[in-house]
Amino acid sequence: MFRALADPTRRGLFERLCREGDTTVVGLLAGAGVSQPVVSKHLKILKAAGLVHDRHEGRYTYYSAERDGLRSLIDWTSRMTGFWNDRFDDLDNLLRRMDQ
């Protein structure tokens, strides 16, 4: 998922889907600054990463952002795990310097 969002074009597409809801590839082309095959390719990658959902309706495919896909990023636990591991390192340093 991180790799899928590391690309600025894909991040832009994903952000628009978050804001605008259901959209077709044509709808996404406006303002994307890239061609339709490129948009389609990026959507495929986003879909594979679980960030985008597609729905077929007649001749059109509607894309929308997948709420659950972001879960691990917005999850505070991933932020705090790194924080606490660093704090444990600092605590270890302090204990070394403290006398009994």
């Binding site: 991180f2 969002l5 590391a6 952000e15 978050c18 804001r19 952002a65 709420r67 972001l70 879960r71 990023l73 917005i74 999850d75 505070w76 636990t77 991933s78 932020r79 705090m80 795990t81 790194g82 606490w84 591991n85 704090r87 444990f88 600092d90 605590l91 270890d92 340093n93 302090l94 204990l95 403290m98 009994q100």
Partner: protein, 136 residues
């Protein structure tokens, strides 16, 4: 139903130290020592005591929940986007102390994060940067 599942989660970090619980307890409860490994603070080990942890990026509002000297300590840990409880447990071992930190939290705004993508985005990018920098 999935809402319930994602409203409370926990972070657990455990480490063995070659020192007795009493020494770790001092590091966990004396303000000048806490400042050396956690944050600046006005901590005092009394149940009900409110205190603040402050860093350059902001502050954490805390309140002591339970104190059992040399054994366990818990306090509320509230920041603008998180309501949580941090619990420290010290268990003596043959070679020192096993220290365990559990932070259990509640994030009722998770849904709002998603819907307010424009608001959440700067934070999201900052987190993304952090996560990616740790990837190999």
């Amino acid at each position: 139903m999935t809402e319930t599942m994602e409203t409370t989660r926990a972070v657990v970090v455990e480490r063995d130290f070659p020192y007795p619980p009493e020494k770790l307890w001092r590091a966990l409860t004396q303000p000048h020592l806490i400042a050396e490994w956690l944050m600046r603070n006005d901590f005092s080990a009394e149940a009900g005591r409110r205190f603040t942890l402050s860093a350059d990026w902001g502050q954490v509002d805390c309140e002591v929940e339970a104190v059992e000297p040399n054994r366990s300590l818990s306090y509320r840990w509230d920041t603008k986007d998180l309501r949580s409880i941090v619990t420290w447990t010290l268990a003596p071992t043959a070679t020192g102390t096993s220290l365990r930190m559990e932070q259990r939290g509640f994030t009722p705004e998770q849904k709002a994060y998603f819907q307010g993508a424009t608001v959440g985005w700067p934070r999201f990018i900052a987190q993304l940067g952090e996560v990616v920098s740790r990837l190999d």
